[in-house]
């Protein structure tokens, strides 16, 4: 891959099969927004519960207190364990909690990170949690450090790139693998770029041909086809 881990917040996990799984670490904003969404959802649930349960006077009050206790402490746990590490807020932001070996989070780690949330919240609004996240490379708050968990972006399926229509271009000199991959990436991304931008990018490559004639995007896609073996 062209991206080197240093630039992106990617954490590589080695699996027993000898494969490296790149995990994209979720940052401060997406996690805050997810928390805010969850907070609003819980507030809404409390509101509804209060409306219903106040009809039942003391019995309702007792039940209300128990439910508040359960939701305040264990709302994230229940979702993280049963829904691939995602509370509703996290799922809307496309992030999930996983163990540091990229396996799904189970009861004990989830409980640890969510009970220790109280400490992350100190002195107010996740002050300590924020500080801790800034101090380590994996954006883990205290609860994550103790539980050995990570919050990562859930991998999204990329659309199949289509650039098959163009013919192949002949090449009279060698390109390094990295260069080949750059051209293939260009071809795969070309459908998301405007025409002008495609020409602009293609222009950068004109020294390749040792001429002052600019390479057209079509030619580049032809090259990509060739590299992919679709000739």
């Amino acid at each position: 891959m062209i991206t080197d881990g240093n630039l992106d917040t990617v954490f590589n996990v080695q699996t027993p099969e000898g494969i490296e799984l790149p995990l994209k670490i979720a940052g401060f904003w997406s996690r805050s927004l997810a928390w805010l969404l969850d907070f609003l959802i819980r507030a809404f649930i409390y509101f509804v519960l209060a409306m219903i349960l106040t009809q039942f006077e003391k019995l309702g009050m007792g039940l209300f207190l128990i439910l508040i206790f359960v939701l305040e402490w264990f709302y994230p746990v229940l979702f993280e364990v049963n829904n691939q590490g995602m509370t509703p807020g996290k799922s809307m932001l496309g992030i999930q909690v996983v163990n540091m070996d990229a396996t799904p989070v189970s009861w004990t780690p989830s409980l640890i990170r969510n009970i220790l949330r109280t400490v992350d919240f100190l002195p107010l609004l996740y002050g300590l949690g924020f500080l801790t996240m800034l101090l380590n490379q994996r954006f883990q708050r205290l609860g994550d450090l103790a539980a050995g968990t990570l919050v990562v972006y859930k991998p999204v399926k990329k659309k199949e790139a289509s650039f098959a229509s163009v013919s192949t271009t002949d090449l009279t000199f060698d390109l390094s693998l990295k260069e080949q991959q750059a051209i293939i990436s260009f071809a795969e991304r070309s459908s998301t770029l405007s025409n002008e931008r495609q020409y602009e990018l293609a222009e950068i490559l004109s020294p390749l041909k040792n001429t002052h004639v600019t390479m057209t995007p079509d030619e580049l896609m032809g090259l990509a086809n060739r590299f992919l073996g679709k000739s």
């Binding site: 790149p22 007792g62 396996t103 400490v119 450090l145 103790a146 990509a224 992919l228 679709k230």
Partner: protein
């Protein structure tokens, strides 16, 4: 091999694998079919092989990404931890919990000394010089406490207005268990939070007990607290022990790195906290339904109270000794 050929050769396999991933990733599908889809582990390894090849041969990012996707999803399914909930709960309460308490005996003793020590100390202090109670509570709070345990109430408890047992049950769970969890969690701050919460609660409970005894409300106060005292107070002390363990795992990690030490300690303290949380809920139940009954003879309540203390301590000392941890 060119990428195009590679793709053409394996496309059918990938599509089949993607389809079976779909089935397996649904929660219900998982349990039944991971056993029945026997080829899954082999297919998974095959796929990992493909990914390695695709990377080594520098195939296009799109293909590598797609394979990574599938490997990631399969990894999540393959390494999902299986738990037999009911059996593990049973094993936990017959042996795991008392074993965990004995394993952390050092911290249980430290925490108990701090908590029960401050409680007894304050109790005696208030008996000797009654004005000391005002160091913990102001006049209004004290008046509230007094009215709760006024002799002649037919229902006693912490909140005078609440005569519904279930409401109090909910309140005790909400309040007491939260205190316990906070006592544990704040241990992460180098055990300072745990010390503060233990001391405060010890002094506070001691002050109230001393004051109510001093003004002669013994006939209502002591029978009320006798029943749940053992379980609730021990639960607080054990939360403290868990907090101490957490805090000291960072302060003196021994041969491990601080991070490793914290992570290990956190996992072990959870072994304690599952039991502690259950104790709080049990205590809340006893407090709401048994302790508040005022038509039971005080001697019965004292007997039950002492009996529970003996049982609880015996449970922590003797239970689960036969079974390997």
């Amino acid at each position: 091999m060119k990428q195009y050929l590679f793709e053409r050769k394996n496309e059918v396999f990938w599509q089949e694998f993607e389809a079976s991933l779909q089935v397996l990733s649904q929660r219900r599908g998982h349990r039944a079919s991971l056993q029945s889809t026997e080829p899954f582990p082999n297919q998974y390894r095959q796929l990992c092989h493909h990914l390695s090849l695709a990377r080594a041969r520098h195939y296009s990012p799109a293909l590598v990404n797609r394979l990574e996707q599938m490997v990631n999803a399969a990894h999540q399914i393959y390494y999902r931890r299986k738990t037999h909930l009911l059996a593990s709960i049973l094993v936990y309460f017959t042996s795991g919990f008392p074993q965990a308490v004995r394993r952390e005996a050092k911290w249980v003793i430290v925490s108990s000394l701090l908590f029960f020590g401050s409680l007894l100390g304050m109790f005696v202090t208030v008996l000797v010089s009654p004005d000391m109670v005002y160091t913990m509570l102001d006049g209004q709070q004290l008046a509230g406490m007094e009215s709760m345990y006024q002799p002649g109430e037919n229902r006693i408890g912490r909140e005078r207005a609440a005569d519904s047992d279930f409401e109090m049950f909910g309140y005790y769970i909400f309040n007491n268990t939260s205190i316990g969890l906070r006592t544990f969690a704040s241990g992460l701050l180098f055990a300072v939070g745990t010390v503060v919460i233990l001391l405060f609660n010890g002094l506070y409970i001691g002050a109230i007990a001393g004051h109510l005894t001093y003004i002669g409300y013994t006939a209502t106060f002591w029978p009320f607290v006798a029943g749940h005292s053992s379980i609730e107070l021990m639960a607080i002390a054990l939360s403290g022990a868990a907090g101490f363990k957490l805090g000291f795992s960072i302060i003196s990690p021994g041969r491990k790195s601080r991070m490793r030490s914290l992570r290990d300690a956190a996992k072990q303290t959870m072994n304690l906290m599952y039991g502690v949380a259950s104790m709080f809920i049990l205590a809340a139940f006893i407090e709401a339904y048994w302790s508040s009954m005022s038509d039971v003879d005080p001697t019965v309540k004292y007997t039950v109270g002492i009996g529970l203390w003996v049982l609880l301590i015996a449970y922590f000392i003797f239970a689960g000794r036969h079974r390997e941890a």
